[in-house]
Amino acid sequence: MTTVPAAIPAAADVPNVLVRLEGVEQFYGEKIRILGPLDLEVREGEFLSLVGPSGCGKSTILRIVTGVLRPSAGTVRVGGRPLKGVNTRAAMVFQSFALFPWLTVIDNVALGLEARGLSLRERLKRADKYIGLVGLSGYERAFPRELSRGMKQLVGLARALAVEPELLCMDEPFSALDVLTARTIRDLVLDLWASPEVMTKSILLVTHSIEEAVAMSDRVVVLKANPGRIADEVDLRGLPRPRRPDLPQVRETVDRMYALLA
């Protein structure tokens, strides 16, 4: 494991593991191995990024973590116990937003709450709260097609946060956005994560951008393709936040990671 040479908080107690993948493999059909076998932990309180070229299975890993995909082999443990079905302690933000076009913003945000058995009043109240947190108040009654892409992703973010997951999963959430908007939302995500209003403990981000991974994460797992497997792991906890792209330390780290991938 490569580390960034800087002060690391000493004697950190062994953190809780939110999700653990053990010996997970994924096949396409019978013969073609897409992924694994691999082991991965998502620890409590960390921002973990998965980077790698296309085909390395990073999105597949995310689907396995959230439970929408069952791995061909291996175990997924959530809070120590094997996962059966969808992971209700995680929520996902999608690359192309996956908003329901026939639902207003507030209905979209409240979507996950109906299945969790909240009453109508509670659902609306919670949806309102998170819409406010992402800065979309005023747009509750708008339909997705009236929103810019950045706003759609904010709705996706609010929707995920509204179910108050302990793990927030993001699948290349900014790749469909323009540079300015992406930056604004990235900052927002970090602010919300740190805010006491939001109960999310950890964030798992899948991205193809090294700059993005370095800007946001405590730890970066680098993946290789064919089949997808872990190539390396980088601990970025020593890198101080906020991580402006022009800071020399940041630039160095990015360079180093590019070298890793080559």
Partner: protein, 161 residues
């Protein structure tokens, strides 16, 4: 502000993004051409954004440079909900938004039919452009919580504060 000057079609998110970007640039001032390349924008997309920011009084454009006005600086530095409040004030200075707001405030039901404004705009613009104007106005107005829209009844209405 001139009555029938059309609103530039820029999503409110990009206008805010522009302000954020300029806030981080030293002196809050940048060459216009620099906005395009590094940020990955086409000029076509950028011009409405800069134009919109100018109409709102948040930036000043001169001699190929774009710079935050004092109002722009304060707004860019502000956090929500203060930012939204400030923006709302500037939005209400634009004639189309002000007109719609006035109409919903004055009506007994707190609602105003969209068609009325569409007809008025049709006097100066094509049908397609008139529709776009209203969409842009609505997008901005929603951010500033100046008014909202009910698509079934096709009416603007006063948002519950």
């Amino acid at each position: 502000m001139d009555a029938m000057q059309p609103l530039p079609h820029a999503p409110i998110g990009m206008i805010l993004g522009l302000l954020e970007h300029l806030k981080d640039v030293p002196g809050g001032r940048e060459d216009l051409y620099k906005l395009g390349g590094p940020l990955g924008y086409e000029l076509d997309d950028l011009l409405p954004v800069t134009e919109a920011a100018k109409r709102l009084g948040l930036v000043r454009i001169a001699a190929g440079d774009i710079e935050l006005t004092p109002e722009g600086k304060v707004l860019a530095a502000a956090e929500e909900p203060e930012r939204k409040e400030r923006m709302s004030r500037y939005l209400r200075k634009l004639s189309l938004i002000a007109d719609i707001r006035r109409a919903v405030e004055r009506s007994r039901s707190g609602r105003a039919p969209r068609d009325r404004f569409l007809e008025r705009l049709r006097e100066s613009f094509s049908e397609a452009e008139a529709e776009r104007q209203l969409s842009t106005a609505l997008d901005w107005a929603r951010y500033g919580e100046v008014f909202d829209f009910d698509p079934d009844a096709e009416e603007f209405f006063l948002p519950p504060s």
